[in-house]
């Protein structure tokens, strides 16, 4: 079931989709996946419900955590996306925003928290340190959190502005609405 019209005509809001001159294979990837996945109306409804109340877990580690707290603030308000209840317990959370540098000592708790989350669950690697180790290419920092958990969305920045993080979250929502499965079904952790 290929897309019969571009994603933006489905009413999705991502800035990249509204600016087609920016080179992107995002639409093509999503179209390919939709073809393979074959969404039904029920699945679309479930995906809509999941994205509109995807509650994050409080996994703030370092500087990115402060910017993550700003998106809960009144200016960059993620309550309009249904995400302001940051759950303290991973068993009640859908989304793990790994915000900050992950040291080797923290890697085991991170995996434990990820395992305690119930499916379906998504992971956003926020910031340069979570995406690739950032400026800390050394003995103490895990070089990218995708060595520990499968990641759905990487948000670059040091720290990313709150609106950049929201852009990442919205793209994740659109991927989910388009039928892209969570990362643990697509790939395992990096090596």
């Amino acid at each position: 079931m290929a897309l019969d019209k571009p994603l933006r005509d489905y009413g999705l809001q991502s800035e990249r989709l509204l600016m087609p001159t920016k080179a992107s294979s995002f639409e093509q990837e999503v179209a390919d996946l939709e073809q393979k996945v074959g969404l039904t109306t029920l699945a679309k409804a479930v995906a809509w419900a999941q994205t509109n109340s995807m509650w994050p877990d409080t996994f703030g580690l370092a500087c990115c955590a402060i910017e993550m707290m700003s998106i809960v603030g009144a200016r960059y308000d993620i309550a309009r996306f249904g995400m302001e209840p940051f759950r303290g317990s991973p068993r009640q959370a859908d989304l793990l925003i790994v915000s900050g540098r992950v040291s080797h000592k923290m890697a085991a708790p991170l995996r434990q928290i990820y395992d305690q989350m119930l499916e379906p669950k998504w992971v956003i690697a926020m910031g340069a340190c979570a995406s690739s180790g950032g400026m800390f290419n050394n003995y103490a920092i895990v070089q990218s959190v995708d060595k520990i958990v499968p990641v759905d969305m990487y948000v670059p920045g040091c720290p990313p502005r709150p609106d950049q993080l929201i852009e990442g979250i919205i793209r994740l929502h659109e991927a989910v609405k388009a039928g892209v499965p969570p990362a643990y079904e697509l790939r395992s952790v990096a090596s």
Binding site: H104, K105, G133, F136, N137, N138, Y139, A140, I141, Q143
Partner: protein, 180 residues
């Protein structure tokens, strides 16, 4: 100015700071003297420094190391002046502050060889607890008499002491940079 300190070796003044070097064996007595007689009641910081390889980075005037010129290795520039040799491999600096009417700072310094332990100053300044654990954890300076000498910043089963000069930086080679 602090010649009366027990175990006094020498005193240096540079950049407006006074460094008092004492023998490691009399560190606790020196600390007590400075705290009670001179009024340094506040221990700011304990810093251990590893001087392995001090002064070997190159000779002034040439682009390269003492071993030869290598344009492809960045940052292999030499010194203007080769620095003076240090007495031993490790130095442990105790930065003291006097929270009194006349605020002053002083640095108490001891020199240690590899493996030589230093006495704990917790009886003098109780705040030294975690600082000494960190010195042990990251630099491998053994502290005698510490009530709880475990690793503090690294995993309990970590091997090695990362801040030593013979411990590699670690991390991953960056692709397309020639490091792989």
């Amino acid at each position: 100015m602090y010649e009366g300190t027990p175990g006094f070796v020498e005193e240096r003044v540079a950049h407006g700071e006074t460094t008092v070097v004492v023998e490691p064996a009399q560190l606790v007595d020196a600390g007590r003297h400075l705290r009670d007689e001179e009024g340094f009641n506040f221990l700011s910081d304990i810093t251990a420094v590893d001087y392995l390889g001090w002064g070997k980075a190159g000779v002034s005037g040439y682009i390269g190391t003492a071993a030869g010129r290598d344009l492809n290795t960045p940052m292999t520039q030499g010194y203007q002046v080769v620095p003076l040799a240090k007495p031993k491999r490790f130095a442990v600096n105790y930065h003291l502050l006097s929270i009194t009417e006349s605020p002053r700072r002083v640095r108490l310094q001891v020199w240690l060889d590899e493996g030589e332990p230093v006495a704990t100053v917790i009886p003098v300044w109780p705040t030294a607890d975690w600082h000494e654990r960190e010195a042990w954890d990251l630099m491998g300076v053994a502290i005698e008499g510490h009530p709880n000498l475990k690793r503090i910043l690294l995993d309990d089963d970590w091997e090695g002491h990362p801040l030593r000069k013979d411990y590699p930086l670690g991390g991953e080679p960056v692709r397309f940079s020639g490091e792989e």
